[in-house]
């Protein structure tokens, strides 16, 4: 219970850090740390009932979110040789304010929904909602393709938090499928970023604005 809450607090702090951070490299590391912390969640949420199922899932999540994704994204920005800055549409201070509002909204939302009683921590649901809001905000408020992928990962982490903590009965096959899909999604996005870089000499998505009516 204590460690679960610690992880959830860490998730909240990392989200706020992402909203206020101006450095791309630091943001990638923060998302990786968040992924590793959440990877341990399925084991802790069901402590002390350990099983191969949760062990495998935790190992896979930690490996993909903590090692493979940062490696892919660092590779994408290294080959792009871009200035390591985020370039937001919305400033860092304003982003942090939006984050605070999102956090408040998440806790309020949870008072409106009949939350199941037997979950590991009362913080699970609000923190997962907060990650979802923060992820969506990061996607729409950042110019760089890499930052948008980071936003997508935060969003996915939020949904994952909810899934692991509350929806207990997800079968193994589906969990593996979800993990695989997210992996391939980030992989394909990484390749696309590489091509965007080669095509435009930098990876700002505000240059992707030829197609419109």
């Amino acid at each position: 219970m204590f460690i679960t809450n610690l992880i959830l607090a860490l998730v909240v702090l990392t989200n706020l850090k992402l909203l206020g951070s101006s450095r791309l490299g630091a943001s990638i590391r923060v998302v990786a740390a968040q992924g590793v912390a959440l990877g341990l969640l399925p084991i802790l949420a069901h402590w002390p009932e350990l099983s191969v199922h949760f062990g495998l899932l935790a190992a896979g999540t930690v490996a993909i979110k903590g090692v493979v994704f940062p490696w892919l994204l660092f590779r994408a920005i290294r080959e792009a040789e871009i200035a390591r800055e985020i370039e937001p549409y919305v400033g860092y201070a304003a982003s942090l304010v939006a984050g605070a509002v999102a956090l408040g909204t998440s806790f309020w939302l949870c008072t409106r929904l009949p939350i199941p009683e037997n979950i590991a921590s009362p913080w699970l649901v609000p923190v997962s909602f907060f990650s979802i809001f923060a992820g969506l905000f990061l996607i729409v408020s950042r110019k760089r393709a890499v930052s948008q992928v980071l936003g997508f990962l935060v969003l996915e982490n939020g949904i994952y938090t909810f899934g692991v903590g509350v929806a207990v009965r997800t079968p193994f096959l589906v969990e593996v499928g979800v993990l695989l899909d997210v992996f391939v999604a980030v992989f394909v996005m990484g390749i696309t970023i590489f091509h965007i870089n080669r095509e435009f000499d930098h990876i700002n998505t505000d240059r992707l604005s030829t197609l419109k009516d």
Partner: protein, 490 residues
């Protein structure tokens, strides 16, 4: 049998990545498409037994969309085989801006195309909501490289938008899945499996608030993929920049896959007594789609974007049909079949036009009937079909939906539907007739297109015509079964 449907294109797709000889690879594509269509036909003749403990099974809705997907893929595979014979591995000049660009390696293109078929097949046979989600996300990921076949900045932009918008949308659908599983958890601690039949059977004791929120999130998630306005923003870009054969599959098959996901959600809503709640959302999204598509079709200058907005329009009509319930559901399903066939036909023809005129601008295409008589005639036939002129199939389905609206006392919905259809008809008429008639410029080659450019759209067009004249008994039974599960019995 069901396993074979999914495994066959999956393995073929993986093999295509490593094959060296282009001719063998194209043979593999057409061969796999033929085998897949054959197995699908066998499934239509006799429904196969469920597999994987009921997770994979073919019900009426699955059978219908599997049939459409498999048949479209077969037609498109003929077109692609011919197309790659001319396009692959050569530098091409961009028709719009005049720069040189490469095409993606053919192995990647064919491999992704086959994986795409495997993912779409999995969507149609999944009875488990988690598996359905995995499959729908897989269709996005397998088709993204297909949109980026022509390697230039516009297709890259389209690919990035498609990937990001659809991935975020589908991520929200994952949240909806989790909400649904919370709704299926009982106070006693037990929970139902996330299999469709199980959820429908116990629908009345699901927790209503969670089910409602879940339903709304599903609409946002799968609605994005289905191209319902205002979530359709990726659709015109992806459809206009992808190679025409891929646009045909995106419009004819992928939108239907996402639609099938929403049909499953509606099945649970109906069984849980929330049918009216779901129907209101369907009708609202459907009418918004009609407004948006009407606005963008009028005065559209790019004929591939015109076709893309026409897809948004048709998804809107289908959504309104489902929202009306009763005979409207029958009409909506028939509309889905007809739209897939007609839109795939038009997209393939747009590829022929683009190859000849080297422009996607409607104003630059003149005298199609003179320059390429067969393509021109089919283009006109496709126009009549897609706008719902009798005797084509879309007339019948649109008429059924309109009649359902009047019969159900939804006069305003029927009048709005009629008004939008009239506006869209005017917009399409000006574009299509101007392209077909007149005298082509001197610089344009005259002469017939090749057989692979004519045969697939001609077959598709012929089928839309047949569906307007008579609906086969088996198809009619399947459509009625679907209508029953969506509350058509009222």
């Amino acid at each position: 049998m069901i396993f074979a449907l999914v495994i066959l294109p999956l393995l073929a797709g993986l093999v295509a990545f490593v094959l060296r000889r282009p001719a063998i690879r194209r043979g593999l594509l057409v061969g796999t498409a033929l085998m897949h269509a054959t197995v699908t036909a066998i499934c239509w003749a006799a429904t196969p037994a469920p597999a994987l403990g009921g997770w994979l099974a073919l019900d009426a809705a699955g059978l219908l969309f599997l049939g459409i997907t498999s048949f479209l893929f077969l037609m498109v595979s003929f077109y692609v085989a011919g197309y790659l014979g001319e396009e692959a591995n050569r530098r091409a000049t961009d028709p719009e801006e005049g720069f040189l660009f490469d095409n993606a390696p053919e192995a990647v293109f064919i491999g992704c195309l086959l994986l795409f078929l495997a993912a779409m097949t999995l969507v149609t046979v999944s009875q488990h909501f988690g598996l359905l989600w995995v499959a729908i996300e897989a269709t996005t990921l397998a088709s993204a490289p297909l949109i980026y076949f022509h390697r230039h900045h516009r297709s890259l932009e389209a690919t990035w938008k498609y990937l990001l918008i659809c991935s975020v949308g589908i991520a929200l659908a994952l949240l909806a899945n989790f909400f649904l599983s919370v709704a299926a958890t009982q106070k006693s601690g037990g929970a139902f499996a996330m299999v469709l039949s199980e959820l429908v059977a116990h629908a009345t004791i699901l927790q209503t608030p969670w089910l409602k929120v879940s339903c709304l999130l599903f609409f946002v998630g799968y609605g994005t993929k289905m191209g319902l306005a205002p979530l359709h923003t990726w659709l015109p870009d992806a459809h206009s920049e992808a190679p025409s054969a891929v646009s045909a599959l995106l419009s004819g098959a992928v939108l239907n896959c996402a639609f099938l996901g929403l049909v499953r959600v509606q099945q649970i809503c109906v069984a849980a007594g929330l049918g009216d709640f779901g129907r209101d959302v369907w009708i609202a999204l459907g009418l918004i789609s009609l407004v948006v598509s009407a606005v963008f079709i009028l005065g559209q200058t790019d004929y591939k974007r015109l076709l893309a907005y026409s897809s948004v329009e048709n998804m809107g009509i289908i959504a309104v049909g489902v929202g009306l319930g009763g005979a409207g559901v029958f009409g909506a399903m028939l509309q889905a079949v007809n739209h897939s066939l007609a839109k795939a036909m038009l997209f393939l023809l747009s590829g022929n036009i683009l190859a000849r005129y080297q422009s996607k601008n409607i104003a630059r295409v003149r005298g199609l009937l003179m320059a390429a008589p067969a393509t021109g005639l089919l283009w006109l036939a496709g126009f009549l079909a897609i706008t719902g002129t009798p005797p084509f199939g879309l007339f019948l389905s649109k008429f059924t939906i309109l009649k359902a609206a009047f019969d159900g006392g939804h006069v305003w919905i029927a009048l709005l539907l009629l008004a939008f259809l009239a506006v869209i008809f005017i917009g399409m008429t000006t574009a299509f007739l101007a392209m077909a008639q007149g005298e082509p410029e001197k610089t344009i080659n005259r002469g017939e297109d090749r057989w692979w450019q004519i045969m697939p759209p001609a077959v598709l067009g012929f089928l839309v015509l047949c569906l307007g004249l008579t609906i086969p008994a088996k198809l009619s039974t399947v459509l009625h079964q679907i209508a029953l599960t969506l509350g058509g019995a009222q």
